[in-house]
Each structure stands twice: as structure tokens, then as C-alpha cells.
Point group: C2
């Protein structure tokens, strides 16, 4: 992500990340690949996908083109209190409105953001689940 | 948790942790405090709680006594690929059946488990949300 971490709380970083991520997802999905690194891991509905290229292909091939995310909650925490890597955990709940479908689908999603030397973050970990029932 | 990490994949650790955590939650909730450390963070329905004692008090004071968790999905990933702390992210979805209530409540929960020198893990991060709608 383009923003830097200078002087911002993890809540501010998390909120900015969430806005940025879902804006790209809904409007320019191929640009999401800029948020990942070669070590990134995505688990999408139980399927594990490793690295920028395979994650990009997975996102590109999802069986829907147009969608709109509605975010209900954003929780965040530093991923280590003891001089760790400065990562941030972000836990999102919300719903996805797919184009042409009557009812939105509930989902939950977890991200682990890890800082880069220049002050921006990449997605080290991401796990997505639809919430059925 | 009592188990060690010797030779186990993060999926095996995650599954064992999930079984252990929800068994304690449903049968001996006060014992959950053994899973936390002074640096632990719990975000419960948006409320942030820090450290073993306050987390213990929060869990003890939840407005229901008897409950049963039904786990739908367990996803897990190492929290760092690049020689990090050896942590494991665990992402759970399921439902809670409260005693005397007709309908179970859907929930999602994220844990970040961090290893201790003796090979067990503690909960560094935990975030819980009911999934309404």
C-alpha cells in the first residue's frame, strides 16, 4: 500500500488498509497484486495459495466479476508486543454484494500486514471465509 | 497449551489448539487463563483487553455460563516466512449454542499463537466477533 506508517496507530493503518484493499478489489482487482510479496500466503475458502503470482491468478479467476464489499467491523492489534516485526493483524467482517444477486454474502477475513523498510506494508497473511448459515 | 511443537505442521498445532481452547471454554472456562501471557491482547466484540488478568476477568464475566462451540472451519498459516518468531495464525468460524437459547450464534475468531522456549504456545493475539445477519 502506498501509505506510510509514520506516527499512525495500528487502528489508523488498519482502517486505511481496509479502505484501500476493498476499493481496489471492487474497482481494479488486478491492482491488488501490488499489496503482496513473494512470501505472502492467501487461504481462500480453505485453499492455500503462495506468492504474488499465484495469488494474483486466484483473485483474477474468482467466479464473479463485479462485486461490492460492505464492511461491518474492523478490529486490529499489533502482532507482537515484544520488539517483533512491527506487524499488524486486521480482522474484518462484512458482506459482499455480487452483481446480479439478490442477497449479499456474509464474510470474515483476517490479514497480517508486515512493514517494509520504506514504511509501507505488504500482506504477509490473508485468510478469507464466507459465513454460511 | 500443554502440547509441544516438535515435528508438527502448523495445521496440526492449530487443530490441537482449537480443540483444546474450545474444550476449556465450554467445560472449564477459568482454565483458559493458562493460555495467555502478560503481553496477550484480546479484542472481544470490539473491546480491547490486555494481559492475563484482565482477559481472565473478561472471560469470567461473559453474560452466559454454559455454552457449546461447534466449529465449522479452521484455517492456519505461519505468521512469518522469513525467520520470524515461529508464530501461527489460526482463523476459526463456527457457532455457539448458549444454554436455554433456541438458535446458535455464528462467530468468527482469529488467534495468533506464539511459541515459548519449552515448545508450547501462548495466545499473543485474539479477536472475536459474532456474525450477525
Amino acid at each position: 500500500m502506498a501509505e506510510t506508517n509514520k506516527g499512525r496507530s495500528e487502528e489508523e493503518v488498519a482502517r486505511a488498509f481496509v479502505n484501500h484493499y476493498y476499493h481496489l478489489f471492487d474497482n481494479d482487482r488486478s491492482s491488488l497484486s501490488t499489496l503482496y510479496n513473494p512470501t505472502s500466503l492467501l487461504t481462500f475458502e480453505g485453499q492455500k495459495i503462495y506468492g504474488v503470482e499465484d495469488i494474483f491468478n486466484k483473485l483474477k479467476q474468482l467466479p464473479f466479476d463485479q462485486c461490492r464489499h460492505l464492511i461491518s467491523t474492523v478490529d486490529s492489534q499489533p502482532s507482537s508486543m515484544a520488539g517483533g516485526c512491527g506487524g499488524i493483524l486486521v480482522f474484518v467482517s462484512g458482506s459482499i454484494q455480487l452483481h446480479g444477486e439478490d442477497h449479499p454474502l456474509r464474510f470474515s477475513q483476517t490479514f497480517h500486514l508486515v512493514p517494509l523498510p520504506q514504511g509501507s506494508f505488504f500482506i504477509q497473511n490473508e485468510m478469507f471465509r464466507l459465513n454460511y448459515g
